[in-house]
Subunit: 735 residues, 2 copies
C-alpha cells in the first residue's frame, strides 16, 4: 500500500507527531521570509531595525541558550553533590552544605584529615551518637540504601507520572529529531523540568549512570523552549533544528567543560544538517555555557568538571603498546555492552518486565546500593572515582591509591620518581578490580531504565579503572625491572617513568569510544580535560584501536542501536547504502499493485476528488495531464473545500472560459508543489538514498520515459534499508 506523508495546508506549516519535515520546503520558506525582510528594510527605518534585529536574533538566542543551560548544569551539579552526600550524613553548621563545604568552613579540620570535621555528622552519629563499631556501620549502611531507594523511587515516579520522555539519555531521540522528525513534547517545558529534577535524583541515588548525556537533552529542551521567543525559529522547523544542534554543543560543553569538543560532538555525533553558520553559533553557545558554569563554580576548583587533570611527565613511545591494549579492552567492552544492553532492553520491551518500571528501578537501586556501600570506590559518586583515578599522585595526596613506600623521600622538589607500591595501593587494586566487575555488570541493566541515565560516566569509569590497574602494573614492572630491554633505554632507576593517571585517562577514552564510536570529538574532549597536546597521541591510538575493534564486532554505536531498537525513523548519514537495488524496487505501487491514485489536471470535479480523498488514507496526490497518459505534472497538496460538488477542479494556470449555466470552476494551482523531485525507475537506490539524505526530501516521484510510475517516500526508503539489513521493516515508527 502506498501512503503519503501528512502534509499540512500550505501556510499553516505544522507537522503531525512522528512525521518527517520537508527540509527543502522549510528552507525555501525561510529564504522567502528573509528576502521579504531585506526588501522591506529599504523602505523605512523601522523595517531596517526589524531586519537588523532579525539578523541578530540568532546570536541573542545562542546567548540565552548558553546562559540557561550553563545555569541549569551548575544547579544540577550542586544539588547532585549535596544529595549524594546526604546519603552519608548531614552538616550541622548548615544543612545546605555538602560534606566538602561543611568541612571547609570548619575550624577543627587538619590538612591530613580534610574529610573529617565535627560539623559533619554521619547518620550513625545523628541517630546513635557514635561512628564506631559494627552497629554504627549497619546504621550508616541502612541509611545509605534507604536514601538511595527514596531518590530512585522519586525519580522513576516523577518520570512516569509527569514526563515519560524524560527517561534515558535522550541522545538517540535528539539524533532522530535533528534528522527531521517530529516528536511532540520531547523537548518541551515539562520534559525539561522533570528531567532536571529526576536527573539530580537519579545521580544521587548512586546508580551506575552519569549526568552528561541527559545534560545534552536538557540543553536541547532549553534551546527548543527559547525558540518560541523568536518568530524566525518558532515557525520554521529547519531553522529550529540548527538551534538544537547548537544547544547540543552547549550541553556537551557544560558536561565536560569542553566547548570545542562539544561543537565537534554535535557535528560528528548528533547533527544531521550542520551548515557552517551553525558551527560558529554553536561555538558561541558552547562558550557562553561553559563560562556561565565556570562563574557558578560548582566544584570550587575554577574548573568545569570534577576530573580535570594536568600531567607533567612525558610518555615514551613504547607505552603505545599498553595504550593499544587499553584500546582493545575498550573496543571489547563497547561491543559487549551494546550487545547485552540491547538484548536486555529488548527483553524489557517484549516481556512482562517492561510493565513494572518502578519495581525494576527499585530492585536495581537496592542491589547497586547494597553492593556499593562496603567498597569505598563504589560508595563515592562515579565522577569522584574518575577524578581520583585520573589524578597523578602528588607529594601530599593522602588517598590509598597514592600509598607508595618512601613516598616523602623525593629527590627533587615536586617530582616523584617511580616507587614500590605500598599496602594501600595493593588493597586499592583489589577494591578497584571488584568495582570494575560491579560497574560492568550493573551498567548493562541500568542504561535503558525509566529514569534519566547517561552512559558517558559509567563507560569512562570502567575504562579508567582498567587503565589505572594496568598503569600501576606497568609502573611496578618498570620499577622492579628497569634493566629489562624494553625499559632500560628510557627508564632509569629513581626516575618518574610511568604516570598511572594517564593510563586511566587513556582507558576512559577507549571505553567511551567503544560504546559511542565517537572519534574526533572524543579525543578533543579528552584533550580539553588534560590541556596538553602531547597526550593526544596516546588518546588517539586508544580511540582508534577501540573503534576498530568495536566496529569489527558490531557496526552500530549504542545510540544507533537504541534508535533501531525503538524503531525511530532515522536515516543514517554515515553508513553507505551498499546494495544494488533500483528505485523501481522500492517505489509504490509495486509491479502487481493497482495503479497509482492520481488526480487529473483539468477534468475532475470536486465530488470526484472528495470521493478519492475519503476512499484512501493519503494526504497528497500527484496531478497528471490525463488519466490515459498519466504524464507527470505535479504533486498535489491536501484537500481544500470546493465550490460545489460538480465544479471542475483546474490545476492548470489558465482555466478555459466557463460556459454559462455550468458551476463555477475551482482553481487549485496554488496548493500544488510545482517543483517535485523526480528520478527514473532505473536510478540505483544508493543514489536515491543519497538524495533523500542530502536534500532532506519527504517524497520523490519515479518516472519512466517521462510517465509517472510511482512514488518513493522517506518511509519507503527507511523500510527498504531495514529490509536490506535483514530487519523487520514494520518496526519503524512512522505515522
Amino acid at each position: 500500500m502506498m501512503d503519503f506523508l501528512e502534509e499540512p495546508i500550505p501556510g499553516v506549516g505544522t507537522y503531525d507527531d512522528f512525521n518527517t519535515i520537508d527540509w527543502v520546503r522549510e528552507k525555501s520558506r525561510d529564504r522567502d521570509r528573509h528576502r521579504e525582510i531585506t526588501n522591506k528594510s529599504k523602505e523605512s527605518t523601522w523595517a531596517l531595525i526589524h531586519s537588523v534585529s532579525d539578523a541578530f536574533s540568532g546570536w541573542l538566542l545562542m546567548l540565552l541558550i548558553g546562559l540557561l543551560s550553563g545555569s541549569l548544569a551548575g544547579l544540577i551539579d550542586i544539588s547532585a553533590h549535596w544529595m549524594t552526600d546526604l546519603k552519608e550524613g548531614i552538616c550541622t553548621s548548615g544543612i545546605w552544605f555538602n560534606h566538602e563545604h561543611c568541612c571547609w568552613n570548619s575550624k577543627h579540620v587538619t590538612f591530613e584529615n580534610r574529610d573529617k570535621c565535627p560539623e559533619w555528622n554521619s547518620w550513625s552519629q545523628l541517630i546513635i551518637s557514635t561512628n564506631e563499631g559494627a552497629f554504627a556501620y549497619i546504621v550508616n549502611y541502612f541509611m545509605y540504601v534507604l536514601w538511595a531507594l527514596l531518590f530512585a523511587f522519586l525519580a522513576v515516579s516523577l518520570v512516569k507520572v509527569f514526563a515519560p520522555y524524560a527517561c534515558g539519555s535522550g541522545i538517540p531521540e535528539i539524533k532522530t529529531i535533528l534528522s527531521g522528525f517530529i516528536i511532540r513534547g520531547y523537548l518541551g517545558k515539562w520534559t525539561l523540568m522533570i528531567k532536571t529534577i529526576t536527573l539530580v535524583l537519579a545521580v544521587s541515588s548512586g546508580l551506575s549512570l552519569g549526568k552528561e548525556g541527559p545534560l545534552v537533552h536538557v540543553a536541547c529542551c532549553c534551546g527548543n523552549i527559547l525558540c518560541h521567543c523568536f518568530n524566525k525559529y518558532r515557525k520554521n522547523e529547519a531553522k529550529r533544528r540548527e538551534v538544537l544542534s547548537a544547544a547540543a554543543a552547549a550541553g556537551v560543553s557544560v558536561a565536560f567543560g569542553a566547548p570545542i569538543g562539544g561543537v565537534l560532538f554535535s557535528l560528528e555525533e548528533v547533527s544531521y544538517y550542520f551548515p557552517l553558520k551553525t558551527l560558529w553559533r554553536s561555538f558561541f553557545a558552547a562558550l557562553v555555557a561553559a563560562f556561565t558554569l565556570r562563574s557558578i563554580n560548582p566544584f570550587g576548583n575554577s574548573r568545569l568538571v570534577l576530573f580535570y587533570v594536568e600531567f607533567h611527565t612525558p610518555w615514551h613511545l613504547f607505552e603505545l603498546v599498553p595504550f593499544i591494549l587499553l584500546g582493545i579492552f575498550g573496543g571489547l567492552w563497547g561491543a559487549l555492552f551494546i550487545r547485552t544492553n540491547i538484548a536486555w532492553c529488548r527483553k524489557r520491551k517484549t516481556t512482562q518486565l517492561g510493565k513494572y518500571p518502578v519495581v525494576e528501578v527499585l530492585v536495581v537501586t537496592a542491589i547497586t546500593a547494597i553492593l556499593a556501600f562496603p567498597n569505598e570506590y563504589t560508595r563515592v559518586s562515579t565522577s569522584e572515582l574518575i577524578s581520583e583515578l585520573f589524578n597523578d599522585c602528588g607529594l601530599l595526596d593522602s588517598s590509598k591509591l597514592c600509598d607508595y613506600e618512601n613516598r616523602f623521600n623525593t629527590s627533587k622538589a615536586g617530582e616523584l620518581p617511580d616507587r614500590p607500591a605500598g599496602v594501600g595501593v595493593y588493597s586499592a587494586m583489589w577494591q578497584l578490580a571488584l568495582t570494575l566487575i560491579l560497574k560492568i555488570v550493573i551498567t548493562i541493566f541500568t542504561f535503558g531504565m525509566k529514569i534519566p541515565s547517561g552512559l558517558f560516566i559509567p563507560s569512562m569509569a570502567v575504562g579508567a579503572i582498567a587503565g589505572r590497574l594496568l598503569g600501576v602494573g606497568m609502573e611496578q614492572l618498570a620499577y622492579y625491572h628497569h634493566d629489562w630491554a624494553i625499559f632500560n633505554s628510557w627508564c632509569s632507576q629513581g626516575a618518574d617513568c610511568i604516570t598511572p593517571g594517564l593510563y586511566a585517562m587513556v582507558g576512559a577514552a577507549a571505553c567511551l569510544g567503544g560504546v559511542t564510536r565517537m572519534t574526533v570529538s572524543l579525543v578533543v574532549i579528552m584533550f580539553e580535560l588534560t590541556g596538553g597536546l602531547e597526550y593526544i597521541v596516546p588518546l588517539m591510538a586508544a580511540a582508534m584501536t577501540s573503534k576498530w575493534v568495536a566496529d569489527a564486532l558490531g557496526r552500530e554505536g549504542i545510540y544507533d542501536a537504541h534508535i533501531r531498537l525503538n524503531g525511530y525513523p532515522f536515516l543514517e548519514a554515515k553508513e553507505e547504502f551498499a546494495h544494488k537495488t533500483l528505485a523501481m524496487d522500492v517505489m509504490k505501487p509495486r509491479r502487481n499493485d493497482p495503479l497509482l491514485t492520481v488526480l487529473t489536471q483539468d477534468s475532475m470535479t470536486v465530488e470526484d476528488v472528495e470521493t478519492i480523498i475519503s476512499e484512501t488514507t493519503y494526504s497528497g496526490f500527484p496531478v497528471v495531464v490525463s488519466r490515459e497518459s498519466q504524464r507527470l505534472v505535479e504533486n498535489a497538496r491536501k484537500k481544500q473545500d470546493g465550490v460545489v460538488s460538480t465544479s471542475i477542479i483546474y490545476f492548470t494556470e489558465h482555466s478555459p472560459p466557463v460556459p454559462p449555466y455550468t458551476p463555477p470552476t475551482l482553481k487549485l494551482r496554488n496548493i500544488l508543489d510545482l517543483s517535485p523531485f523526480t528520478v527514473t525507475d532505473l536510478t540505483p537506490m544508493e543514489i536515491v538514498v543519497d538524495i533523500f539524505r542530502k536534500l532532506g526530501l519527504r517524497q520523490c516521484l519515479v518516472t519512466h520515459n517521462g510517465r509517472l510510475l510511482g512514488i518513493i517516500t522517506k518511509k519507503d526508503v527507511l523500510k527498504h534499508i531495514a529490509q536490506m539489513a535483514n530487519q523487520d521493516p514494520d518496526s519503524i515508527l512512522f505515522n
Copy 2:
C-alpha cells in the same frame, strides 16, 4: 549557445583540464569498487588480505602525508631561518649555523648579550673588519638589500621558468580544486619542488609575506603525489579530494602548530565535500604532521611555531571594550586590504604591469628592504616580530619593549606589576607605529605577485602591532589613572592588570579574521597557540566583531575575492542564492533558441548520429522516445564507433528482431546514463543551486509535463550566479 561538459567514455574516467568532475558518478564508481572487493574477499585468503589492505590504505596514506608535510615544513623553517640571517652576516664556526645556533655554541656569550658572539660576523666585519661607524652600517645595509634582491630574483625566476602554478598562497586554487574542478599540474611534483624552494627564498628575502598559506599548498601537493601510490585514490577524483582535504588540515597544522585548528580550517575554509570519515582521517594526518615537525624541532623550543605563548594573568570584563575596538580595526583593515589588493591585482591583470613580473618583484623587494633595514622591527623576520609582540614581558627580558622603569623592582617572585614605561618602550612604540604603516602599505602590493606568498603572517603582524600599541597604552593608562572608575574596582596600584601581549594576540586574530573571514578555526588556532581556555572569550569577541565589520563593508574574504578575480569556476557553498529566478530562466536552449539537439531512442542511424556529432560541439546528448513527443528518456554519452553508417542505433534494452538483409543494429544502451537528474521548469533556482551544490552534479535535465525542455549545466549555474551578482559571466574559466 548550449554546450555540454566534456564527458569521457565510461570506464576511462579521465577529465580534461578546467572541467568539473561528476561527484555522483565518482562516488558510485567507488561504491562499485568497494562492493567488488568485499564480495571477492569471501573467496580467497589473498582477496581477503587485499580487502583489508585496501581498507587500511587510507590510513597509511594519511600517515605518509603527515610525515612528508611535517618534514617539508621543518626543512622550510630551518632553511628560511638560516637564509634570513644570511642577509645580516655569517657564522664563522660553521656556515650552516644561523645566528641563534651560532651563538648557542659559543663560549663567549653572556646572558645579557645573547645575540652577540664573536663567531657571528656581520657583513661589515667580514668585508671591512669592523662593525662600528657609518661606513659599516652602509655596508651592512647594502648587503642586506643585495641578498634580498638575490633571493627574490631567484624565487620569481624559478617560478616563472619551472612552475607558474607555484606562485601565490594557493588557497583559492585549492578551494576550487576541492569543489570538483580539475587544474592539471597544480598539485604536481614540479609545483611541489619549486614551491618549496621558492617559498624559502621568498620568506628569506624579507618581503611582507608568510609561509603559512603556501604550506597548505605544499601539503596538498604531497597528498596528491602520494595518492598515485594507491589505486583507490589515483583513479577516483572524489576520493582524491577527500585526501586533499586532509592534507590541507595537515598543512595548517604544521603552519601554526594547531592540529585541531587545522582540521577545522579545512572543514570551514577550504573543503567542499567533507564526510565525517574524512574528519577523523584529517585529524590523524594533522597530528602526525605536527609531531613530525616537533621531532625536527626547527625552533629549538619544542614548539611547532615561533610565537607560542603562555599568559598567566586573567583578563577583566572591562577589557572587552579595547578587544572589540581591536576587532573593529581588524574588520576595517580586512575590508581595506581586500579592496585595494583586488584593485591592484586587477590592474596587474589588465595593464602592461602584468607582463613584467620579475621587475615588479625586484622593485617591491628593493623598496621593502630599503625601508625595512633601518627599523629593527621590520628588519627581523615577521614571525620573530610577532613572537616578540605576543610575549608577556618577563623579569629577564632584555628587549626594548620590556624596558619599563624599576623593572627589577618586583614585589613577588615572577610576578611583574604594571609599571611606568621607560625610554625603550617609548622608542619602541614609535618604531612599531612606523612598522605598522609600512606593513599595511607594502602587503597590499606584495600579495598576488608571482612568488609564493601567504597572507596569514603579514595580517597577524599588522594586528599584533596595533594590539600591542593599544595594550601598552591601556597599561600606562591603568598605571597612571588606577583611581579612575573604570579601573579602580579591579586594578589596584602595583598590581599586574593589563597584559599587552594578550592585546597583540587579540589584534592578530582580529586582523586575520578580517582578511580571511575565518571564524571557529581562527579562534581554535589562536587557542592552541595560547593553550588557555580563558583567553578564548577575548579572541572570540574580536573575531566576531572583525567579521561583522568586514562583512558589512564587503561580503567576500580574500580567497573568494581572488577566486572571482581569476574567474575560477567555484560554486560557493556558504552563500545562499537569494534570487527568485526559475530553472527555465537558466536552462539552454532559451525560449527563442533552436530546439534542443537530441537523439531518438530507436530510429536514428549511425550516419545521422555522426552528422549531429560533427555539426555540434557538445559531447553528450539526451535520448528521447521520438522526436515528436521529445519525451525524456535518458542522457546519452559520447560517440562510439558505429557498425555501418546505415545501422540503426538502439538505446532501448531490447531491439526488435532484425529483418534479413538489413544492416546489423548497434546497441548503445550501455553508454547511457539511465538515471539522469531532472527538475521541472518551474523549480526555483535556489533549489537547483542547492541540488548542484549538495549532490555535486555536472548537469541536470529540465522537463515540463514530462517533456524534455532543456538542460542546465554547472557552467550555466555559475554564469547565472555571476550575472545575478552583476558580474561579467564570461569571466569564468571553464572549458
